[in-house]
Symmetry: C2
Subunit: 662 residues, 2 copies
């Protein structure tokens, strides 16, 4: 946007740029009496409005999403706009039979996963199992029109299901008032969609960046542990189980209801769990055999249902899903709930599940886009996911997004476009219309085993070890979200983790690095003397690098630290050769911003050093820093001899001026 | 701390450092086939424990407060420790008669201010006037032993009084239960002291840095407006006045009780207000006449008391202070309140008044220290102020700190040491013992006039204009704290302003600057081509500067922005000379940190660019960034030809390697 003004003289002139033109520089304090200095430039003059526009463009449109529209005819712009808002118009014209064949294979594969997972995840959210199937039908169709990822497999996911189940069940237990619970679930889904679409439309996508990867690793592991333990209900056949979500009540509830354990359920449950975990392991070890793990859940459902149906009289202890209604999604817009005492809960649940499902959906989309060398626009994806949830809330669906595990299977099975989602939805449609009675005797234990197999992959201990190795504070953020989710609650665990992450940024700004710089012989470069053994300090100078913007939060610290460097240098000089310090150069290269507190600090520091007859010089202040120094009239107090473009020129010029006036 | 290892070869070797040794460098793409490259160093190896120690030392002891203790004998260390904890031992041995003479003059001057202000500010906090005098007696004595500022004049201040008055009065109006109110005030003072001393002892002084100057300007102006409007009660003689603190109830209460306005009070009040404002103006215009404004409050008190006493029968409308008890501070430790329903309010009030009074005290101490060329240790000052408030809470004092206006008078009157506080306290002592009956007929209106004169100086509209000119976001922080205090409440106004300030830091990190760099001819330096017109782009390269640490909050943004720069460069090349881009160099000089999300981004970016056959090169990654690249094994994927110490070497080396293998 801003660089076009410079395009004209893009490469003009000589310099190192032109390798056929050798340049010889002679650098020495003695021969450089007529040193050619470079002025430090102010950035190009702009009005407040222009600056605001530029800043807003950088904040909200970093990817310049409309660049394709530049210099196009009116009709072409219309087509581009249509393609921009409905990516289906982009790929549909070039769709071919070859692509369709791949998409059918992958669509059927993910459908075989989506049906058992949909039923299971709905149970995780304390919803009737059929809601999970409804949610695997409408949202994928909407996404296939609006979405820009080719590999995302849309449907209910474990984390969002768990969080919705927990947050709503705390206020209105499903068993007490199923109809109110259902209303709140659809309302929360509606608000999740509104929130997601709003973030996308306002281009506030960066909000989800605040859930750092470290935070998510901890959060997902904590959620996976809780979810797995909760499945003990199904695997052990317990009837009266706690509805709480912390680890302690869940475990104590398991032990308390020992009398309800059913050995038939336990044996069958753990056998199928072992089978599913084994196939999962095979699928992970040998990527070519991914279909083993993809087909296992449906195979288990069929096998277990057959077993229970055939030996019904003997296996009466085993709880089953029961009768499921045939037919398509009923409309549910009349069930949305916009008033009354539980509205707040619905909105809160919507925002939290909305942000979590968005994070998962965007991350999955980006991952597979990067693997297959295309780009997805985060903000457009948010709009797609948001509209899909709003539409879902009006057609008996709860929160959906792109699932990581199913998208991976989708990509492995050779999905080429979003049509695989349409194939999947069609398969679910057939199931809903004709196959529902078959699930009557599907045992609950198999759903528990499927959930455990799905969430166990969320426990990413390898990443945790890597975090410990690379970044201790990220590790702390990870652990705190893990234990927060496990022992306190999902929203508080998340809040703690976000707090730790923000604190980390603030700590970095509040206590920045400062270092003494020395010259690397044979170059014009000055580097940290602690790190580069060859870097040489310059006598009579102390050259300090400050590695952060100077803000209210660190200006006092930076001042104290600079004064301490000077004091230490003076003490060393006094103890050794007895020569004196004359000039302090601050390398401002990494000082990327300054505020009014920082400006006041610079001014005060200059005064303090002047009283001690030390010269303060700034080297290479950045554009915005120069501008602010200028606006606050501090630049004038420095004058021409107080600001240099490079440390090297400052050292050469100042030492030669000392020679001139001894 | 860390640099001693390098001290040995402090200045050894040649280089620019030694001006008698000229160095000639020949730089050219052709002659530099055997280019001597500089390795990018990792920082010195340190264990996790050593790193943690170093980091903690930087966070908590930036000023290395114990450096004076190094290499000293045992006895000397004891003396130093005594001086460290009780600064009185530092200056007392050298105290002289000349110093005492100055301190007596300044001590008497500030006493003449402290007595009327003490009474007035106590009224502001809804406390009995005598508490204000008690608070001007004990705390200054404690401070003179523990404090390290020479010019701080200690006593009650307007902001802390206002905030305490508001916060406590909302819960327990003084008129309803004076004894409980008094208990809560002392308890809040106690907790303020504990909080302040704890911050100092734990060296968490940087907490107060989060109240940026911009925030404080807005906050103080808002508080000053509220306080001044509240004084309409005294100036108009209203009896039934609202106890609320927002601007709307205060103004409507003034108009609602119009029938209570007393013309005698109004005439006398506004005359004295005009007199005080005039003397204040004179004192500000001619610093030599500072004594005019310093003496005016006491003179007004004496004059108005005389008038009311003499014309008592005619001026019966005018409300007066009434009987004040003679005698020293009664002990109040038995009134501290450590249980029951109001404990939370007392703690909250204590923390907020504590942090505000600390901010004022430290800022005043630093200002006068800088003016007089000595340093105060912020953390030690916090301990002093904390202990002074704890002691105060046990001797019938409420929150005190260093007052800006009285400290300025103190410095102007020639104070040399903290003894001026002792002189002031002695004068207050005499007043408390003998002169209390004289205040019986002092009219309340004069207290209102004194408060208005004192707080009007807090409205610093010039700073606000400067904020607008220099930093728009600081201006927004200032305005939001101003209006927050005015229309909502003091704690919420403060919270909003701190929120805006923190948001500003996060915004800077979340949306950092990136720029295209070009070579400045004749140097090894690369600068922003937008800012430096002489900077030349290098053909086949795009050199990008990233101006922030790469964190979870900005890694997606930076990736998108870098890809856009590359796309724009490629588009420009395609439209112009048709040559192709081969290499992307990222100048990491200002990338002062990286976390696991940032590392993942760098890895992914490298992969993405490789697929497009573009080489990605990092130039000058900082110490901690190098370390993390190394630990996460990303450095290996770059290899030796992917990381350079300077952009210049990267350009030269890579273009020569292209020549070698065409």
């Amino acid at each position: 946007m801003g660089i076009n003004s410079n395009r004209v003289d893009h490469y003009s002139g000589s310099g190192h740029a032109n390798p056929t033109d050798p340049v010889t520089i002679t650098v020495s304090g003695e021969t450089m009496t007529s040193l050619e200095l470079h002025n430090v430039c102010l950035p190009p003059q702009k009005s407040t409005l222009q600056k605001l526009r530029h800043r807003l463009a950088e904040v909200f449109f970093p990817d310049d999403p409309l660049h394709g529209f530049k210099n196009q005819s009116g009709l072409r712009k219309l087509v581009l706009a249509l393609q921009f808002f409905f990516p289906i118009f982009e790929w549909a014209p070039n769709y071919s039979f070859t692509l369709l064949r791949s998409d059918i294979v992958s669509g059927l594969t993910i459908a075989s996963l989506a049906i058992p997972q949909g039923i299971s995840y709905a149970k995780l959210a304390n919803l009737p199992p059929i809601i999970g199937l409804y949610s695997s039908f409408v949202p994928p169709l909407i996404y296939s029109v609006l979405g820009s990822s080719k590999h995302l497999a849309v449907g209910p996911v474990s984390i969002a299901s768990l969080v919705m189940g927990t947050m709503l069940n705390e206020v209105v237990p499903y068993t007490q008032d199923p109809s109110l619970y259902l209303k709140l679930a659809f309302t929360a889904t509606f608000f999740a969609g509104v929130f997601q679409a709003t973030l996308g439309l306002l281009r506030l996508g960066f909000v989800i960046d605040f859930l750092s990867k470290a935070t998510l690793v901890g959060f997902m592991a904590g959620a996976a542990v809780i979810v797995s333990l909760q499945q003990l209900k199904g695997l052990l056949g317990i009837v009266h189980f706690t509805s709480k979500m912390q680890i302690i009540p869940v475990l104590s509830s398991t032990i308390q209801h020992k009398n309800e354990w059913s050995w038939q359920t336990i044996v069958m449950g753990f056998c199928f769990l072992a089978f599913l975990l084994t196939t999962r392991h095979i699928g992970m070890r040998k990527p070519k055999l991914f279909w083993v793990s993809a087909a296992a859940p449906l195979a288990s459902v069929i096998l277990s249902t057959l077993l229970v149906t055939l030996f019904r009289s003997k296996l009466h202890d085993i709880a089953t899903i029961g009768r499921l209604q045939k037919g398509l999604n009923p409309p549910s817009s009349n069930m949305l709930y916009f008033h009354g005492e539980f509205l707040g809960v619905a909105i809160k649940t919507g925002i939290i599940t909305g942000i979590l499902s968005l994070t998962e959906g965007i991350a999955v989309g980006r991952t597979f886009a990067a693997l297959n060398d295309y780009q997805v626009d985060g903000n457009k994806e948010m709009i797609a996911i948001g509209f899909m949830n709003m539409a879902g809330s009006c057609s008996s669906c709860y929160v959906t997004t792109g699932s990581f595990s199913r998208s991976a299977v989708n990509a492995n099975a050779g999905a080429k476009t979003v049509v695989s989602n349409i194939i999947m939805a069609s398969t679910v449609l057939i199931t809903l219309l004709f196959l529902m009675p078959l699930f009557h005797y599907t045992p609950n234990l198999i759903l528990a085993a499927i959930i455990i197999t799905a969430v166990i992959g969320l426990i990413d201990y390898e990443s945790t070890i890597r975090l410990w190795k690379v970044d201790k504070l990220d590790f702390v953020a990870c652990l705190s979200s893990f234990f927060g989710v496990l022992f306190i609650s999902v929203p508080i665990g998340l809040a703690i983790a976000v707090g730790v992450s923000v604190f980390k940024i603030l700590l970095h700004v509040t206590r920045p690095n400062t270092s003494v710089l020395g010259n690397i012989p044979g170059t014009q470069i000055y580097q940290n003397v602690n790190r580069y053994r060859e870097a040489r300090r310059v006598p009579s100078f102390v050259i300090l690098g400050v590695e952060a913007p100077i803000y209210f939060a660190n200006s006092t610290y930076i001042q104290e630290r600079i004064l301490r460097w000077i004091r230490e240098e003076e003490e060393w000089l006094a103890a050794n050769n007895g020569s004196s310090l004359k000039c302090v150069i601050i390398d401002m290269t990494a000082v990327t911003g300054i505020d009014t507190s920082g400006l006041a600090m610079v001014k005060e520091l200059k005064k303090m050093l002047e009283k001690r007859s030390l010269q303060l010089v700034l080297a290479n202040p950045g554009g915005s820093v120069m501008e602010k120094l200028h606006q606050s009239n501090i630049l004038e107090t420095f004058g021409l001899e107080g600001v240099y473009m490079m440390v090297d020129e400052a050292v050469a010029d100042i030492s030669s001026s000392w020679k001139a006036q001894p």
